[in-house]
């Protein structure tokens, strides 16, 4: 006689565990990078909008993300820099027009996403990368759930073979990732 109750519990649990899928909002999904120039000032550039999909299961503390970062459209505000960045010894955009971030290891603190660990592929080279959430929130936008935040990570560009200008332009690159995803 307890079976129906048990079945109901199982059904409810799987419904709750059903991950929600989000598609990135191209107006609010960008990667900015920062790199130190001659130990003096920080040069910045932008990739995006980035495209991709995210699934989140906040109750289970799980998620998955798959992002495509177009390197061809890198934008520093300086056409000459953009062209230099696309060359073979930096982004190698002709051969590798996109970078990718793929991650399935999500760490939550409560229901707040704290860290996403995955793999970043740049110039065809894949390395582990952690993005830490500096901010994460969900809201309702006219009935559609929107989740997003600010994420930060660091990499050594030499790990990916992007070596031009070392050491005058630093090896360490800081990534600032803005994402907002709309549930569908």
């Amino acid at each position: 006689m307890k079976f129906p109750a048990l079945l109901l519990t199982v059904t409810a649990a799987s419904a709750a565990a059903q991950p929600a899928a989000y598609v990135l909002d191209p107006a609010h999904s960008f990667v900015h990078f920062e790199v130190l120039h001659f130990g003096t000032s920080t040069s910045r550039g932008r990739f995006g909008p980035i495209a991709g999909a995210v699934t989140l299961d906040r109750s289970a503390g799980r998620g998955a993300v798959s992002l495509r970062v177009p390197t061809t459209g890198v934008d520093t505000g300086l056409p000459v820099f953009n062209a230099r960045l696309r060359e073979a010894d930096l982004l190698a955009s002709t051969e590798f027009p996109d970078a990718y971030f793929v991650a399935t290891r999500f760490r939550f603190e409560g229901d707040r996403l704290a860290e996403v660990r995955g793999e970043f592929t740049l110039r065809g080279v894949s390395q582990p990368l952690s993005l830490f959430a500096r901010r994460f929130a969900c809201r309702s936008d006219e009935g559609t759930e929107v989740c997003g935040g600010d994420f930060e990570g660091e990499l050594l560009r030499s790990d990916f073979g992007a070596t031009f200008g070392l050491p005058f332009v630093a090896d360490r690159v800081r990534l600032l990732v803005q994402v907002e995803g709309r549930r569908h």
């Binding site: 107006a27 932008r46 505000g77 820099f81 901010r135 935040g149």
Partner: protein, 189 residues
């Protein structure tokens, strides 16, 4: 005795030269203003002003300086053309009526020979209010390409946009506090 006089005279000349301060030309390839403002409390929108010009006078010995930077407000670039259009419109920055913004900094603070802050005024949309840019980093180096001294750094400040009448979307869409992140390098002339 003569040597002493000459040495003293040289010292005066050198000190005098330094006190005149050096003129530095902004390096537009390493000078940018970017703003950051949160969007519905969820994520941070960033946009950069691509066109600017200005001058820097800087005297490390006398610990004085003056910087003037004029920003072409229409050159705003967020990576989202419709957002840029909205930013330029009367709703927000009213670029057709107020095409430029200008920062004039004339109070330099130092720690040793490093600049730690530059205080001055920001004129935007016809209003002038005090702003202090805090240096997160400051350095001078000999640039191998220019073969000249280059000084620069990373500066930031948080302004309340409503002070300049930029009230659109307050407070839900975007808060009053806007962070300005400023990269500056200037080449000694």
């Amino acid at each position: 005795m003569n040597k002493l006089v000459i040495a003293a005279a040289c010292a005066v000349v050198v000190t005098g030269a330094q006190a005149d301060g050096g003129n530095y030309a902004l390096d537009p390839t390493h000078t940018f203003v970017t703003f950051e403002v949160t969007h519905f409390g969820t994520s941070t929108n960033r946009a950069r002003f691509d066109k600017k010009e200005g001058m820097v006078q800087f005297d490390r010995a006398a610990r004085t300086g003056r910087v003037e930077i004029t920003i072409d407000m229409a050159s705003i670039n967020s990576g989202v053309p419709p957002f840029d259009g909205h930013l330029r419109s009367k709703d927000i920055l009213n670029v057709s009526e107020f095409p430029t913004a200008k920062f004039v900094g004339d109070k330099f603070s130092f720690s040793g020979d490093k600049v730690t802050a530059v205080a001055g005024t920001l004129t935007m949309m016809g209003q002038t209010h005090p702003v202090t840019l805090k240096a997160n980093r400051f350095n001078c180096y000999l640039n191998p390409m220019f073969k000249r001294e280059v000084c620069g750094g990373d500066f930031e400040t948080v302004i309340q946009r409503s002070q300049w009448g930029v009230n659109y979307g307050l407070p839900a869409v975007a808060p009053d506090n806007v962070r300005l992140v400023v990269q500056v390098e200037a080449v000694k002339q």
